[in-house]
Amino acid sequence: MADITNNDLIELLGGKFGNKITGVNEPYGLLTFETTKDVIIGVLQFLKESEVANMNFLTDITAVHYPEKNQIAVVYHLHSMVKRIRIRIKVFIHEHTPNIPTATVLWKSANWMERETYDFFGVKFEGHPDLRRILNMDELNVHPMLKQYPLEDPNRVDKKDEYFGR
Protein backbone atom coordinates (compact mmCIF):
# COMPACT_ATOMS: atom_id res chain seq x y z
CA MET A 1 0.00 0.00 0.00
CA ALA A 2 2.65 2.39 1.00
CA ASP A 3 4.76 3.79 -1.78
CA ILE A 4 7.91 3.34 0.25
CA THR A 5 8.85 0.52 2.57
CA ASN A 6 10.40 0.55 6.00
CA ASN A 7 13.57 -0.94 4.51
CA ASP A 8 13.89 1.94 2.07
CA LEU A 9 13.55 4.38 4.93
CA ILE A 10 16.10 2.69 7.11
CA GLU A 11 18.59 2.50 4.23
CA LEU A 12 18.04 6.16 3.55
CA LEU A 13 18.62 7.08 7.19
CA GLY A 14 21.53 4.69 7.60
CA GLY A 15 23.25 6.24 4.61
CA LYS A 16 22.91 9.69 6.09
CA PHE A 17 23.33 9.18 9.82
CA GLY A 18 25.15 5.83 10.00
CA ASN A 19 25.60 4.48 13.50
CA LYS A 20 23.46 7.22 15.08
CA ILE A 21 20.42 5.15 14.13
CA THR A 22 20.07 2.23 16.54
CA GLY A 23 17.52 -0.20 17.85
CA VAL A 24 15.62 -0.56 14.59
CA ASN A 25 12.40 -2.44 15.08
CA GLU A 26 9.02 -2.84 13.41
CA PRO A 27 6.30 -3.42 16.01
CA TYR A 28 3.02 -3.96 14.14
CA GLY A 29 4.59 -2.69 10.95
CA LEU A 30 5.50 0.75 12.28
CA LEU A 31 9.17 1.50 11.80
CA THR A 32 10.75 2.43 15.13
CA PHE A 33 14.30 3.41 15.86
CA GLU A 34 16.37 5.21 18.44
CA THR A 35 18.72 8.07 17.95
CA THR A 36 20.58 10.56 20.11
CA LYS A 37 19.62 14.04 21.13
CA ASP A 38 22.48 15.73 19.31
CA VAL A 39 21.20 14.56 15.92
CA ILE A 40 17.46 14.36 16.55
CA ILE A 41 16.64 17.68 14.91
CA GLY A 42 18.86 16.75 11.99
CA VAL A 43 17.03 13.44 11.62
CA LEU A 44 13.62 15.11 11.82
CA GLN A 45 14.63 17.78 9.35
CA PHE A 46 16.10 15.23 6.96
CA LEU A 47 12.92 13.15 7.07
CA LYS A 48 10.77 16.22 6.59
CA GLU A 49 12.70 17.64 3.69
CA SER A 50 13.76 14.43 1.95
CA GLU A 51 11.89 13.93 -1.32
CA VAL A 52 11.89 10.20 -0.75
CA ALA A 53 10.54 10.06 2.80
CA ASN A 54 8.42 13.22 2.65
CA MET A 55 7.46 13.10 6.34
CA ASN A 56 5.47 16.30 6.18
CA PHE A 57 3.42 15.83 9.31
CA LEU A 58 4.33 15.68 12.98
CA THR A 59 1.67 13.48 14.51
CA ASP A 60 2.75 13.48 18.10
CA ILE A 61 5.45 14.12 20.64
CA THR A 62 5.30 12.46 24.01
CA ALA A 63 7.58 10.85 26.57
CA VAL A 64 7.88 7.66 28.57
CA HIS A 65 9.64 7.34 31.90
CA TYR A 66 11.78 4.30 32.65
CA PRO A 67 12.84 4.75 36.30
CA GLU A 68 14.85 1.52 36.54
CA LYS A 69 17.07 2.74 33.70
CA ASN A 70 17.01 6.35 34.97
CA GLN A 71 15.87 7.37 31.53
CA ILE A 72 13.11 9.28 29.83
CA ALA A 73 12.33 8.40 26.24
CA VAL A 74 11.03 11.25 24.12
CA VAL A 75 8.92 9.70 21.38
CA TYR A 76 8.18 11.37 18.04
CA HIS A 77 5.60 10.06 15.61
CA LEU A 78 6.00 11.34 12.08
CA HIS A 79 3.69 10.70 9.20
CA SER A 80 4.02 11.06 5.48
CA MET A 81 0.55 11.78 4.16
CA VAL A 82 1.84 11.52 0.61
CA LYS A 83 3.62 8.17 0.94
CA ARG A 84 1.17 6.91 3.54
CA ILE A 85 3.78 5.72 6.00
CA ARG A 86 4.48 6.44 9.63
CA ILE A 87 7.68 6.38 11.60
CA ARG A 88 8.43 6.44 15.32
CA ILE A 89 11.64 7.93 16.69
CA LYS A 90 12.80 7.58 20.26
CA VAL A 91 15.45 9.57 22.02
CA PHE A 92 16.56 8.33 25.43
CA ILE A 93 17.75 11.05 27.78
CA HIS A 94 18.81 10.91 31.40
CA GLU A 95 16.03 11.67 33.86
CA HIS A 96 18.19 14.09 35.87
CA THR A 97 19.32 16.08 32.84
CA PRO A 98 16.25 15.90 30.61
CA ASN A 99 17.36 18.33 27.94
CA ILE A 100 16.66 17.96 24.25
CA PRO A 101 16.51 20.46 21.38
CA THR A 102 13.11 21.71 20.37
CA ALA A 103 11.29 20.65 17.22
CA THR A 104 9.37 23.93 17.04
CA VAL A 105 11.88 25.07 14.43
CA LEU A 106 10.37 22.48 12.07
CA TRP A 107 6.70 22.24 13.00
CA LYS A 108 4.62 24.76 14.90
CA SER A 109 2.46 21.98 16.31
CA ALA A 110 5.50 20.93 18.34
CA ASN A 111 4.92 23.98 20.52
CA TRP A 112 2.02 22.62 22.56
CA MET A 113 3.11 19.00 22.30
CA GLU A 114 6.43 19.93 23.88
CA ARG A 115 4.75 22.06 26.49
CA GLU A 116 2.62 19.07 27.42
CA THR A 117 5.65 16.81 27.58
CA TYR A 118 7.46 19.36 29.73
CA ASP A 119 4.46 19.69 31.99
CA PHE A 120 4.13 15.97 32.63
CA PHE A 121 7.71 14.74 32.42
CA GLY A 122 9.86 17.80 33.00
CA VAL A 123 11.63 17.39 29.68
CA LYS A 124 13.29 20.71 28.90
CA PHE A 125 13.12 21.50 25.22
CA GLU A 126 16.02 23.82 24.55
CA GLY A 127 15.13 26.75 22.35
CA HIS A 128 11.38 26.39 22.85
CA PRO A 129 9.79 29.86 22.56
CA ASP A 130 7.38 29.50 25.46
CA LEU A 131 8.09 26.51 27.67
CA ARG A 132 5.43 26.84 30.36
CA ARG A 133 3.10 24.33 31.95
CA ILE A 134 -0.01 23.76 29.90
CA LEU A 135 -2.52 21.49 31.61
CA ASN A 136 -1.43 21.54 35.23
CA MET A 137 -1.41 24.58 37.45
CA ASP A 138 1.73 26.66 37.56
CA GLU A 139 2.12 26.16 41.31
CA LEU A 140 2.51 22.41 40.91
CA ASN A 141 6.13 21.65 41.67
CA VAL A 142 6.30 18.11 40.33
CA HIS A 143 6.01 16.55 36.89
CA PRO A 144 3.21 14.14 37.62
CA MET A 145 3.59 11.51 34.91
CA LEU A 146 6.98 10.44 36.23
CA LYS A 147 6.65 6.98 37.66
CA GLN A 148 7.72 7.91 41.20
CA TYR A 149 4.49 9.81 41.75
CA PRO A 150 1.64 7.50 42.74
CA LEU A 151 -1.86 7.94 41.39
CA GLU A 152 -3.43 8.37 44.79
CA ASP A 153 -2.29 9.08 48.31
CA PRO A 154 -0.24 5.96 49.15
CA ASN A 155 -1.20 6.20 52.83
CA ARG A 156 -4.83 5.38 52.23
CA VAL A 157 -5.55 1.86 53.44
CA ASP A 158 -8.95 1.47 51.83
CA LYS A 159 -7.76 1.73 48.26
CA LYS A 160 -4.88 -0.69 48.04
CA ASP A 161 -4.50 -1.98 44.51
CA GLU A 162 -4.48 -5.64 45.48
CA TYR A 163 -8.04 -5.40 46.80
CA PHE A 164 -9.14 -4.49 43.30
CA GLY A 165 -7.11 -7.07 41.42
CA ARG A 166 -4.71 -4.46 40.17
Binding site: P27, T59, D60, H77, M81, S109, N136, M145
Partner: protein, 404 residues
Protein backbone atom coordinates in the same frame (compact mmCIF):
# COMPACT_ATOMS: atom_id res chain seq x y z
CA UNK B 1 1.42 33.81 37.50
CA UNK B 2 -1.80 35.79 37.55
CA UNK B 3 -4.11 34.32 34.95
CA UNK B 4 -6.15 37.49 34.63
CA UNK B 5 -3.25 39.47 33.29
CA UNK B 6 -1.77 39.23 29.84
CA UNK B 7 1.39 37.17 29.79
CA UNK B 8 3.12 39.46 27.34
CA UNK B 9 2.87 43.15 28.06
CA UNK B 10 5.90 44.59 26.27
CA UNK B 11 3.81 45.42 23.18
CA UNK B 12 1.79 48.09 24.99
CA UNK B 13 4.11 50.78 26.36
CA UNK B 14 1.39 53.44 26.56
CA UNK B 15 -1.20 51.13 28.10
CA UNK B 16 -3.77 51.81 25.41
CA UNK B 17 -4.95 48.25 25.02
CA UNK B 18 -7.81 46.67 26.93
CA UNK B 19 -7.37 43.25 28.47
CA UNK B 20 -10.35 40.96 28.11
CA UNK B 21 -10.73 37.59 29.79
CA UNK B 22 -12.71 35.50 27.36
CA UNK B 23 -13.64 32.60 29.57
CA UNK B 24 -13.08 30.28 31.35
CA UNK B 25 -16.87 30.10 31.65
CA UNK B 26 -18.06 32.44 28.97
CA UNK B 27 -21.34 31.42 27.29
CA UNK B 28 -19.92 32.07 23.83
CA UNK B 29 -17.01 29.68 24.19
CA UNK B 30 -19.10 26.50 24.66
CA UNK B 31 -16.72 24.92 27.09
CA UNK B 32 -14.12 25.71 29.68
CA UNK B 33 -11.51 27.71 27.80
CA UNK B 34 -9.79 30.84 28.87
CA UNK B 35 -8.25 33.29 26.46
CA UNK B 36 -6.64 36.43 27.74
CA UNK B 37 -7.01 38.84 24.86
CA UNK B 38 -5.54 42.27 24.37
CA UNK B 39 -7.98 44.38 22.45
CA UNK B 40 -7.53 47.53 20.44
CA UNK B 41 -11.14 48.54 20.07
CA UNK B 42 -12.81 45.43 18.70
CA UNK B 43 -9.67 44.09 17.16
CA UNK B 44 -7.56 41.48 18.90
CA UNK B 45 -3.90 42.44 19.18
CA UNK B 46 -2.65 39.36 20.94
CA UNK B 47 -4.09 36.43 22.77
CA UNK B 48 -2.91 33.76 25.15
CA UNK B 49 -4.84 30.54 25.60
CA UNK B 50 -4.92 29.02 29.05
CA UNK B 51 -6.20 25.47 29.10
CA UNK B 52 -6.36 22.62 31.57
CA UNK B 53 -9.40 23.64 33.59
CA UNK B 54 -10.92 20.18 33.35
CA UNK B 55 -7.72 18.17 33.23
CA UNK B 56 -8.42 14.80 34.86
CA UNK B 57 -5.08 13.00 34.45
CA UNK B 58 -6.48 10.25 32.23
CA UNK B 59 -3.04 9.14 31.10
CA UNK B 60 -1.96 8.65 34.70
CA UNK B 61 -5.19 6.88 35.66
CA UNK B 62 -4.88 4.62 32.61
CA UNK B 63 -1.54 3.34 33.87
CA UNK B 64 -3.40 1.81 36.82
CA UNK B 65 -6.42 0.35 35.05
CA UNK B 66 -6.81 -2.88 33.11
CA UNK B 67 -7.65 -2.40 29.44
CA UNK B 68 -11.38 -2.88 29.72
CA UNK B 69 -11.59 -0.22 32.44
CA UNK B 70 -9.95 2.36 30.21
CA UNK B 71 -12.91 2.49 27.83
CA UNK B 72 -14.93 4.74 30.19
CA UNK B 73 -11.99 7.13 30.29
CA UNK B 74 -12.02 7.45 26.51
CA UNK B 75 -15.74 8.35 26.66
CA UNK B 76 -14.80 11.52 28.39
CA UNK B 77 -12.32 12.73 25.82
CA UNK B 78 -14.53 13.97 23.00
CA UNK B 79 -17.87 13.48 24.71
CA UNK B 80 -19.76 14.61 21.62
CA UNK B 81 -18.68 11.48 19.78
CA UNK B 82 -17.79 9.02 22.54
CA UNK B 83 -18.40 5.88 20.44
CA UNK B 84 -15.57 6.78 18.05
CA UNK B 85 -13.19 7.07 21.01
CA UNK B 86 -14.44 3.79 22.45
CA UNK B 87 -14.02 1.98 19.14
CA UNK B 88 -10.60 3.52 18.61
CA UNK B 89 -9.49 2.20 21.97
CA UNK B 90 -10.92 -1.28 21.38
CA UNK B 91 -9.19 -1.43 18.02
CA UNK B 92 -5.91 -0.38 19.61
CA UNK B 93 -6.10 -3.23 22.09
CA UNK B 94 -7.22 -5.64 19.38
CA UNK B 95 -4.19 -4.62 17.35
CA UNK B 96 -1.98 -5.24 20.38
CA UNK B 97 -3.51 -8.68 20.94
CA UNK B 98 -3.80 -9.55 17.24
CA UNK B 99 -7.52 -10.11 17.51
CA UNK B 100 -9.39 -10.38 14.23
CA UNK B 101 -12.99 -9.34 14.63
CA UNK B 102 -15.80 -10.73 12.44
CA UNK B 103 -17.00 -8.66 9.50
CA UNK B 104 -20.39 -8.15 11.10
CA UNK B 105 -18.75 -6.46 14.07
CA UNK B 106 -16.86 -4.18 11.68
CA UNK B 107 -20.10 -3.12 10.03
CA UNK B 108 -21.90 -2.59 13.32
CA UNK B 109 -18.96 -0.51 14.45
CA UNK B 110 -19.09 1.58 11.32
CA UNK B 111 -22.79 2.26 11.93
CA UNK B 112 -22.10 3.43 15.47
CA UNK B 113 -19.02 5.45 14.53
CA UNK B 114 -20.73 7.23 11.66
CA UNK B 115 -23.73 8.02 13.82
CA UNK B 116 -21.29 9.51 16.30
CA UNK B 117 -19.64 11.53 13.55
CA UNK B 118 -23.02 12.89 12.50
CA UNK B 119 -23.90 13.88 16.05
CA UNK B 120 -20.49 15.53 16.44
CA UNK B 121 -20.88 17.51 13.24
CA UNK B 122 -24.49 18.44 14.12
CA UNK B 123 -23.20 20.08 17.28
CA UNK B 124 -20.40 21.95 15.55
CA UNK B 125 -22.36 23.20 12.56
CA UNK B 126 -25.47 24.19 14.45
CA UNK B 127 -23.34 26.06 16.94
CA UNK B 128 -21.60 28.01 14.18
CA UNK B 129 -25.09 28.99 13.05
CA UNK B 130 -26.12 29.79 16.61
CA UNK B 131 -23.12 32.05 17.08
CA UNK B 132 -23.89 33.91 13.89
CA UNK B 133 -27.40 34.51 15.20
CA UNK B 134 -29.45 31.67 13.71
CA UNK B 135 -31.02 29.98 16.71
CA UNK B 136 -33.65 28.14 14.68
CA UNK B 137 -31.24 25.81 12.94
CA UNK B 138 -29.62 24.95 16.22
CA UNK B 139 -32.86 23.87 17.86
CA UNK B 140 -34.16 22.22 14.72
CA UNK B 141 -31.22 19.94 13.98
CA UNK B 142 -30.44 19.22 17.61
CA UNK B 143 -33.44 16.93 17.92
CA UNK B 144 -31.65 14.51 15.61
CA UNK B 145 -28.77 14.32 18.02
CA UNK B 146 -31.39 13.18 20.49
CA UNK B 147 -32.48 10.46 18.03
CA UNK B 148 -28.87 9.32 17.72
CA UNK B 149 -28.61 9.17 21.50
CA UNK B 150 -31.73 7.02 21.55
CA UNK B 151 -29.99 4.60 19.21
CA UNK B 152 -26.98 4.48 21.54
CA UNK B 153 -29.38 3.84 24.38
CA UNK B 154 -30.79 0.81 22.59
CA UNK B 155 -27.32 -0.51 21.82
CA UNK B 156 -25.55 0.04 25.13
CA UNK B 157 -27.92 1.65 27.61
CA UNK B 158 -26.12 4.96 27.90
CA UNK B 159 -26.45 8.23 26.06
CA UNK B 160 -23.53 10.58 26.44
CA UNK B 161 -20.65 8.66 27.95
CA UNK B 162 -21.47 5.50 26.14
CA UNK B 163 -18.82 2.93 27.06
CA UNK B 164 -20.06 1.15 23.97
CA UNK B 165 -18.56 -2.11 22.77
CA UNK B 166 -15.96 -4.35 24.30
CA UNK B 167 -12.52 -5.56 23.30
CA UNK B 168 -13.38 -7.99 20.51
CA UNK B 169 -16.82 -6.68 19.64
CA UNK B 170 -19.96 -5.55 21.41
CA UNK B 171 -21.31 -6.51 24.80
CA UNK B 172 -24.62 -7.50 23.20
CA UNK B 173 -26.18 -7.66 19.78
CA UNK B 174 -28.14 -4.77 18.31
CA UNK B 175 -31.81 -5.47 18.93
CA UNK B 176 -34.72 -5.02 16.54
CA UNK B 177 -35.63 -1.65 18.04
CA UNK B 178 -32.11 -0.38 17.44
CA UNK B 179 -32.25 -1.34 13.76
CA UNK B 180 -35.73 0.16 13.46
CA UNK B 181 -34.48 3.39 14.98
CA UNK B 182 -31.47 3.47 12.66
CA UNK B 183 -33.76 2.98 9.65
CA UNK B 184 -36.06 5.71 10.90
CA UNK B 185 -33.09 8.02 11.34
CA UNK B 186 -31.84 7.24 7.84
CA UNK B 187 -35.23 8.16 6.48
CA UNK B 188 -35.84 11.35 8.46
CA UNK B 189 -32.43 12.92 8.89
CA UNK B 190 -31.71 13.65 5.18
CA UNK B 191 -34.86 15.76 4.97
CA UNK B 192 -33.89 17.79 8.02
CA UNK B 193 -30.29 18.15 6.89
CA UNK B 194 -31.50 19.37 3.51
CA UNK B 195 -33.65 21.97 5.21
CA UNK B 196 -30.76 22.94 7.44
CA UNK B 197 -28.58 23.46 4.39
CA UNK B 198 -31.22 25.44 2.55
CA UNK B 199 -31.51 27.74 5.55
CA UNK B 200 -27.80 28.44 5.74
CA UNK B 201 -25.80 27.53 2.64
CA UNK B 202 -26.92 30.50 0.56
CA UNK B 203 -27.88 32.70 3.47
CA UNK B 204 -26.48 36.18 2.91
CA UNK B 205 -25.90 36.94 6.58
CA UNK B 206 -24.31 33.59 7.23
CA UNK B 207 -21.97 33.89 4.25
CA UNK B 208 -21.02 37.43 5.20
CA UNK B 209 -20.13 36.30 8.67
CA UNK B 210 -18.19 33.18 7.68
CA UNK B 211 -16.77 33.33 4.14
CA UNK B 212 -13.21 34.56 4.07
CA UNK B 213 -13.03 34.74 7.86
CA UNK B 214 -10.15 32.97 9.56
CA UNK B 215 -8.84 31.48 6.33
CA UNK B 216 -5.90 29.16 6.82
CA UNK B 217 -3.36 28.06 4.27
CA UNK B 218 -2.45 24.43 3.76
CA UNK B 219 1.10 25.07 4.91
CA UNK B 220 -0.07 26.60 8.19
CA UNK B 221 -2.64 23.87 8.76
CA UNK B 222 -0.05 21.13 8.28
CA UNK B 223 2.57 22.91 10.33
CA UNK B 224 0.13 23.35 13.22
CA UNK B 225 -0.79 19.69 13.04
CA UNK B 226 -4.39 20.14 11.98
CA UNK B 227 -6.32 17.03 11.02
CA UNK B 228 -9.90 16.16 10.32
CA UNK B 229 -12.48 18.53 8.81
CA UNK B 230 -10.30 21.53 9.64
CA UNK B 231 -7.41 20.24 7.56
CA UNK B 232 -9.72 19.07 4.78
CA UNK B 233 -11.31 22.51 4.57
CA UNK B 234 -7.92 23.85 3.47
CA UNK B 235 -7.83 21.33 0.62
CA UNK B 236 -5.68 18.52 1.98
CA UNK B 237 -7.53 15.26 1.38
CA UNK B 238 -6.24 13.41 4.42
CA UNK B 239 -8.70 11.11 6.12
CA UNK B 240 -7.53 8.21 8.31
CA UNK B 241 -10.45 6.12 7.07
CA UNK B 242 -8.97 6.22 3.57
CA UNK B 243 -5.28 6.58 4.29
CA UNK B 244 -5.07 3.66 6.73
CA UNK B 245 -8.43 1.89 6.57
CA UNK B 246 -9.56 0.21 9.77
CA UNK B 247 -12.74 -1.66 10.55
CA UNK B 248 -13.29 -2.56 6.84
CA UNK B 249 -13.70 1.04 5.70
CA UNK B 250 -11.83 0.04 2.54
CA UNK B 251 -14.86 -1.97 1.37
CA UNK B 252 -17.09 1.08 1.44
CA UNK B 253 -17.81 3.61 -1.23
CA UNK B 254 -17.61 7.15 0.11
CA UNK B 255 -16.00 10.45 -0.71
CA UNK B 256 -13.72 12.69 1.28
CA UNK B 257 -14.98 16.26 0.88
CA UNK B 258 -12.35 18.99 0.76
CA UNK B 259 -12.60 22.76 0.82
CA UNK B 260 -10.39 25.30 -0.87
CA UNK B 261 -9.73 28.26 1.39
CA UNK B 262 -9.86 26.88 4.94
CA UNK B 263 -12.21 29.61 6.12
CA UNK B 264 -15.17 29.10 8.42
CA UNK B 265 -17.62 28.69 5.55
CA UNK B 266 -15.51 25.92 4.05
CA UNK B 267 -15.26 24.14 7.38
CA UNK B 268 -19.03 24.31 7.66
CA UNK B 269 -19.49 22.93 4.14
CA UNK B 270 -16.97 20.14 4.68
CA UNK B 271 -18.72 19.02 7.86
CA UNK B 272 -22.12 19.11 6.18
CA UNK B 273 -20.87 17.02 3.29
CA UNK B 274 -19.30 14.58 5.72
CA UNK B 275 -22.71 14.08 7.31
CA UNK B 276 -24.07 13.09 3.89
CA UNK B 277 -21.17 10.72 3.41
CA UNK B 278 -21.74 9.25 6.87
CA UNK B 279 -25.33 8.57 5.92
CA UNK B 280 -24.12 6.80 2.80
CA UNK B 281 -21.76 4.71 4.90
CA UNK B 282 -24.50 3.73 7.34
CA UNK B 283 -26.80 2.77 4.48
CA UNK B 284 -24.09 0.62 2.91
CA UNK B 285 -23.29 -0.98 6.27
CA UNK B 286 -26.96 -1.80 6.85
CA UNK B 287 -27.03 -3.38 3.39
CA UNK B 288 -23.86 -5.40 4.02
CA UNK B 289 -25.19 -6.62 7.36
CA UNK B 290 -27.87 -8.57 5.52
CA UNK B 291 -25.18 -10.78 4.01
CA UNK B 292 -23.58 -11.61 7.36
CA UNK B 293 -24.63 -14.37 9.75
CA UNK B 294 -27.03 -12.92 12.32
CA UNK B 295 -26.17 -13.01 15.98
CA UNK B 296 -22.40 -12.63 15.62
CA UNK B 297 -21.41 -9.62 17.67
CA UNK B 298 -18.00 -10.41 19.08
CA UNK B 299 -14.80 -12.24 18.24
CA UNK B 300 -13.98 -15.50 19.93
CA UNK B 301 -11.40 -14.27 22.44
CA UNK B 302 -12.31 -15.81 25.81
CA UNK B 303 -9.15 -14.41 27.39
CA UNK B 304 -10.32 -10.84 26.99
CA UNK B 305 -14.03 -10.86 26.21
CA UNK B 306 -16.19 -11.31 29.31
CA UNK B 307 -18.54 -14.29 28.98
CA UNK B 308 -22.30 -13.80 29.20
CA UNK B 309 -23.66 -13.65 32.75
CA UNK B 310 -25.85 -16.76 32.44
CA UNK B 311 -22.81 -18.66 31.21
CA UNK B 312 -20.82 -17.50 34.24
CA UNK B 313 -23.48 -18.78 36.62
CA UNK B 314 -23.99 -22.14 34.93
CA UNK B 315 -20.77 -23.04 33.25
CA UNK B 316 -17.42 -23.84 34.89
CA UNK B 317 -15.25 -22.69 32.00
CA UNK B 318 -17.01 -19.37 31.64
CA UNK B 319 -16.72 -18.79 35.38
CA UNK B 320 -12.97 -19.38 35.21
CA UNK B 321 -12.54 -16.94 32.35
CA UNK B 322 -14.71 -14.38 34.09
CA UNK B 323 -12.62 -14.69 37.24
CA UNK B 324 -9.35 -14.50 35.34
CA UNK B 325 -10.37 -11.38 33.44
CA UNK B 326 -11.81 -9.57 36.45
CA UNK B 327 -9.01 -10.49 38.82
CA UNK B 328 -6.40 -9.65 36.24
CA UNK B 329 -4.59 -12.91 35.76
CA UNK B 330 -4.31 -12.63 32.00
CA UNK B 331 -1.40 -10.64 30.73
CA UNK B 332 -1.17 -8.88 27.43
CA UNK B 333 1.96 -9.17 25.27
CA UNK B 334 4.91 -6.88 25.74
CA UNK B 335 4.68 -4.50 22.84
CA UNK B 336 3.96 -0.99 21.73
CA UNK B 337 1.31 0.04 19.29
CA UNK B 338 -0.02 3.21 17.72
CA UNK B 339 -3.49 3.17 16.28
CA UNK B 340 -5.33 6.11 14.80
CA UNK B 341 -8.98 6.55 13.93
CA UNK B 342 -10.74 9.43 12.27
CA UNK B 343 -12.47 11.12 15.17
CA UNK B 344 -15.00 13.89 14.91
CA UNK B 345 -12.24 16.48 15.03
CA UNK B 346 -9.40 14.70 13.34
CA UNK B 347 -6.88 11.98 13.85
CA UNK B 348 -7.47 10.45 17.26
CA UNK B 349 -4.42 8.38 18.09
CA UNK B 350 -3.73 5.90 20.86
CA UNK B 351 -0.10 5.22 21.67
CA UNK B 352 -0.02 2.25 23.96
CA UNK B 353 3.07 0.73 25.52
CA UNK B 354 2.57 -2.51 27.36
CA UNK B 355 5.34 -4.08 29.42
CA UNK B 356 3.63 -7.43 29.73
CA UNK B 357 1.17 -6.67 32.51
CA UNK B 358 -2.56 -6.17 32.43
CA UNK B 359 -2.40 -2.39 32.64
CA UNK B 360 -0.64 -0.17 30.12
CA UNK B 361 2.86 0.90 31.01
CA UNK B 362 2.10 4.13 29.24
CA UNK B 363 -0.90 5.28 27.28
CA UNK B 364 -0.89 8.51 25.36
CA UNK B 365 -3.87 9.97 23.58
CA UNK B 366 -3.16 12.03 20.49
CA UNK B 367 -6.08 14.35 20.93
CA UNK B 368 -7.01 16.31 17.81
CA UNK B 369 -8.74 19.12 19.75
CA UNK B 370 -5.60 19.78 21.75
CA UNK B 371 -3.38 20.00 18.71
CA UNK B 372 -5.89 21.91 16.57
CA UNK B 373 -6.48 24.47 19.29
CA UNK B 374 -2.83 25.44 19.59
CA UNK B 375 -3.32 27.67 16.55
CA UNK B 376 -6.28 29.58 17.97
CA UNK B 377 -4.47 32.40 19.78
CA UNK B 378 -2.11 32.84 16.85
CA UNK B 379 -5.02 32.93 14.37
CA UNK B 380 -6.96 35.44 16.45
CA UNK B 381 -4.31 38.11 16.20
CA UNK B 382 -5.67 40.89 14.04
CA UNK B 383 -9.14 39.39 13.97
CA UNK B 384 -12.34 41.02 15.19
CA UNK B 385 -13.53 39.70 18.53
CA UNK B 386 -16.85 38.55 17.08
CA UNK B 387 -15.03 36.66 14.31
CA UNK B 388 -12.78 34.97 16.84
CA UNK B 389 -15.88 33.62 18.58
CA UNK B 390 -17.24 31.94 15.45
CA UNK B 391 -13.75 30.81 14.61
CA UNK B 392 -13.62 29.00 17.93
CA UNK B 393 -17.05 27.44 17.33
CA UNK B 394 -16.01 26.27 13.89
CA UNK B 395 -12.91 24.56 15.27
CA UNK B 396 -15.21 22.35 17.35
CA UNK B 397 -12.92 22.32 20.35
CA UNK B 398 -14.28 19.95 22.96
CA UNK B 399 -12.94 20.76 26.43
CA UNK B 400 -12.81 17.11 27.47
CA UNK B 401 -10.55 16.22 24.59
CA UNK B 402 -8.52 19.38 24.91
CA UNK B 403 -7.63 18.75 28.54
CA UNK B 404 -7.76 14.94 28.78
Amino acid sequence: MNHNQPVYTDNDPQEELVTLNLGPTHPATHGVFQNVLQLDGERIVSGVSTIGYIHRAFEKIAEHRPFYQITPLTDRLNYCSSPINNMGWHMTVEKLLNIKVPKRVDYLRIIVMELARISDHIICNTIIAQDTGATTTFLYLFQFREHIYEIYEEVCGARLTTNIGRIGGFERDFNEIAFAKINKFLKEFPLALKEFESLLNRNRIFIDRTAGVAAVTQEDALSFGWTGPLLRSTGVDYDVRVSEPYSSYDEFDFEVPVGTSGDIYDRYLVRNEEMWQSLRLIEQAMEKLKGEPAGVFHADVPDFYLPAKEEVYNNMEALIYHFKIVMGEIDAPKAEVYHAVEGGNGELGFYLINDGGRTPYRLHFRRPSFINYSMFAHMSEGMLLSDAIINMSSMNIIAGELDA
